[in-house]
Amino acid sequence: MDLDTLDVIHPYILVVEGKEEEVFFRELIRRLGLPKIQIVPIGGKSNLRQNLKILAKSPRFNDTVISLGIVRDADDNWSAAFQSVRDALQAAGLTAPESQLASVGNKPRVTIMILPESGASGMLEDLCLKTVENDHANLCVEQYFQCLQQQGLPLPRNMAKARVQVFLASKPEPGKRLGEAAEAGYWPWDDLAFEEVKNFLKQICFA
């Protein structure tokens, strides 16, 4: 039984879904030179409501946390995803913002970001893929999936994840996952597509 526990110890908290998001955002926060933001991987979106409640019940949460950011994927429906985070916040007794990137409340202040960007369906993988749209390797990625179709093979269920894997297979050290690719600098951090998520992270610290 693994009994390592996750203590809330920093005033700035970013709630993410899982390990991949944790690694990705840790790297982006580091590159932005922001103050320490504690990243809390809280599990899949189906558990957000219950797990956010537990986070808010954590020892010292009320006295420690100044600002709380929550990021999750839109999947098929951006509005439904945004509303589900709002519902989870309210169930946990926290303030729920009315819109993306609007920081509201006091102790803690709360900010929501639904990926890949305001109003769009999709996920973190889609955001990363958007930043490499004009990368030459991207042409090969599309050709790979066309080839699969020509061979009569079924396409993967999650095309965004598959495209990320194929794209990363073109890199000098293939086999990295999305978060590891962030650490390796395979995503172009200066791309405009990352602006909204960068603003979100800055908002957590400085709003």
């Binding site: 526990t5 996750l6 599990g43 797990n51 537990i54």
Partner: protein, 359 residues
Amino acid sequence: MYQSFKVKNFRCFNELTLGDLKRVNLIAGMNNVGKTALLEALFLHGGAYNPQATFKLSAFRGIENVKVNLSRLGETVWDSLFNQFDNTKSIELVGENNAGSRSLRLRVAREPVDLKKISHYISDSPEEFTGLLTSSESAQVLAVEYKENGRQTALYMVADQKGIRTEPFPLTPPFPTFFQTARLRVPFIEEAEGFSKLELQGKQDELLRVLRLIEPRLKRLAVVVESGEIMLQGDIGSARLVPLPLMGEGIARLATLMLYMSNASNGVVLIDEIENGLHHSVMAKVWKAIGEAARQYDTQIFATTHNLECIVAAHRAFIESNQHDFRLHRLERTREGLIAVTYDQEDLAAVIETSLEVR
């Protein structure tokens, strides 16, 4: 069975309300946050008709003799019970259950109207309590006022040069309340008496079954008188019976706990640092046994712990029993004061999934 419990002006508690109480309640929290003090408050509330319970609390903390200086104006022998040692306020303990509310108020009586009521007790009573050293002519009086569903009782505890005594003679407490301390050993005679009661009811095998969880070699238990000392001893296949404490702290504490539970029908058992002496591998089985015994004897349990393995084991044991009549309550000192945060079954499942801290 308590459904909620409110403490005011007692020990470290300015004011605290503990809600959503279930059959088994585990209290967690940092050091010195008041876990043991909460058990003491419950003990006082349970022993409502007997103000001498206030001195038992000192004994639980290892203070056998109470030193009181009756000449020092304003200070009383009960000051350590009061929040910030401020005996000008009243301690209030209120328990809610299905039947209604039971409240206990303790205050140092110093108004002439109070002292007049009990003046004959002070002058007429013989010496009763020997654990007191006094040094003056004056008397100190603790008023214990008890209210339940409109019924009201007042008792007075008097400390003067004759000793400490309760007036009028205390009634039997409304329900049994037992306190198992973290370190102090229960007197052998108390343990032997508890076991004898089980034997009289033909239920000794129930204790044996539970103790085998941590000592599978245990064949039988017997009350043995040796060198004038009555003691509970066990047969583990050695050449002779072995006194329970010699088998280990865990088995001795578990035996005491089970004996308390079997003698606390409709009552309460309080256990400080329940994990003491228990290996983590037996913790879930012990919790299962505690849950079953608590239901069987209709006993409510309040236990403290620092141990996460103990919390996780309890949650899993109660899930397996299909009766999650269990809550975890964390006491926490915040800027707004002491608070209690309660975790139910779903919360604890999420805690285990996320590894978020609960203690």
